[in-house]
Amino acid sequence: MPQLTCQNLTLGYEGKTVVSDLSFVVNTGDYLCIVGENGSGKSTLMRAILKLKTPTSGQIVPSDGLTPNDIGYLPQQTVIQKDFPASVREVVRSGCLNRCGLRPMYNRAEKQMAEDNMQKLGVAPLARRCYRELSGGQQQRILLARALCAAQKILLLDEPVAGLDPKATADMYELIAKLNKDGITIIMISHDVAASVKFASHILHIGRQSALFVGTKEDYLKSDAGRVYAGAGGEK
């Protein structure tokens, strides 16, 4: 069942086109990896899906009862967060904010939801700790818990393993795969083609300006683009 359809999408900054005429469909339960070189427009595409950026032309159509509030987001860490005094619980709860509207405080259900998601991602024991003092892997889990508080249907992940050590990277991929098995659609930007092919069900490979490949992982490995990029790192 299609959840998100991108039709003839063209994206750019100040008249410069970054991505042109991109079309693809994300189905419920898919695990889509967006790969491509630096500057190919992966992040721009993600910002467009999140409505942080208006496309130059084309459109992104949600279906299957999807509302903008159903899309969760795991952004890359910002400079501000490096010295931000915030407890883990405060960060996770802030994911519930899109349900609050004008209500100034979180209600009991939202607080419970934050606790459940911390439990689910194994960060509940850290609830009272300071976010900035934790390891990169722990911080990513906390932000993932926050994203789950915000939305339960689609998760957009922007290079979730950037800067993590190998152990934390492996844990993070396992966790994302588990969430996907639980029925959450995953859209992930990644530099790590080897891991993308290992975990994803679908691959979107963006080249300079246009899509080099859109389709299932199996087809990707057989395609020209897949052979060049996944090459050594693909199925062993």
């Binding site: 999140l50 509030n69 910002t78 010295d83 904010l97 899109n98």
Partner: protein, 287 residues
């Protein structure tokens, strides 16, 4: 000791001392509420920039012989605050440059206008008074006190009402916007509140020292506390205590009000830095 106590009792019988204390504590409270957010948003200097805008507006108000310069200063400052905070990350002139430009520009224009139109013979004194604050907090009228009380209540109300939103938007604006929180609206509200607080604070410590009032309590609290709530509450207490203490010292010792308060704030910062250093060291030894 009893001599000082007697002096306090004597001074507190004067309404102007009572007014000064009420207004001082309220302004310290408001500025510390916003200080945490501003420092974290890398907008520490917005206080300085906006205070110069307010200075420029005050100069114009003085030249136009407006009796109540609040009416001109407040809207002008609010507009500049919105312009600064709205430009955001995609602006052609980035945040720090924009603040520097507005700050220096309005300061120069303000001084120019004062120089050309001022009827006062003591121009340097006037400028000094506007910039560094003066005894103006000791000459407050009942109306000004009430105005300050009402605005403070509004600021505190807005902060309490939007506390969680302010936290979320400060911590991660992109995430908030992406998940359907109206980050732009909250940034706008924040900009207005900041402008109001700065215009208020100019009465107490003067334009140049507002930044200190915004930054020091927040930084002090961040040395020791680890959660947003604890930091906010702590910076509020530090700010109020320092302001009250500074005011009392300045009355007793006859020192300038603004600089005395800031000196007390600096002392507070050192105490908290020490406390933070000791607690982290203790933690490291244990862990």
């Amino acid at each position: 000791m009893t001599e000082i106590a007697d002096k306090f009792v004597l001074y507190f019988q004067y309404p102007f001392v009572q007014y000064a204390l009420i207004v001082g504590v309220l302004i310290a409270l408001c500025s510390s509420l916003l200080g945490v957010t501003l420092v974290l948003k890398r907008f520490s200097f917005i206080g300085d920039g906006l205070s110069h805008v307010a200075f420029g507006a005050m100069a114009i108000a003085a030249a136009m012989n407006l009796t109540n310069n609040f009416l001109l200063v407040l809207p002008v400052t609010i507009i500049c605050a919105i312009l600064l905070l709205r430009t955001g990350q995609n602006a052609k002139i980035k945040g720090d440059a924009a603040i520097a430009m507005i700050s220096v520009g309005t300061l120069a224009i303000g001084y120019l206008i004062m120089n050309v139109f001022s009827k006062s013979s003591n121009l340097a004194g006037d400028v000094c008074t506007t910039l560094f604050g003066s005894t103006s907090i000791l000459t407050l009228t009942m109306t000004e006190v009430w105005l300050c009380v009402i605005l403070s209540v509004l600021v505190i109300g807005v902060f309490l009402l939007f506390y969680h939103k302010i936290f979320a938007v400060t911590f991660d604006e992109d995430f908030s916007t992406a998940t359907g929180v109206k980050a732009k609206v909250y940034n706008l509200i924040l900009a207005v509140v900041i402008a109001v607080v700065i215009v208020l604070a100019m009465n107490l410590v003067g334009a140049l020292l507002i930044s200190a009032l915004v930054i020091f309590p927040a930084l002090s609290a961040m040395r020791v506390f680890k959660s947003f709530k604890a930091v906010t509450v702590c910076s509020l207490i530090v700010s109020v205590v320092c302001a009250a203490l500074g005011l009392l010292i300045s009355i007793i010792a006859g020192t300038p009000v603004g600089s005395t308060i800031v000196a007390v704030d600096i002392a507070g910062f050192f105490i908290f830095s020490m406390a933070g250093f000791i607690t982290t060291k203790g933690l490291m030894r244990r862990g």
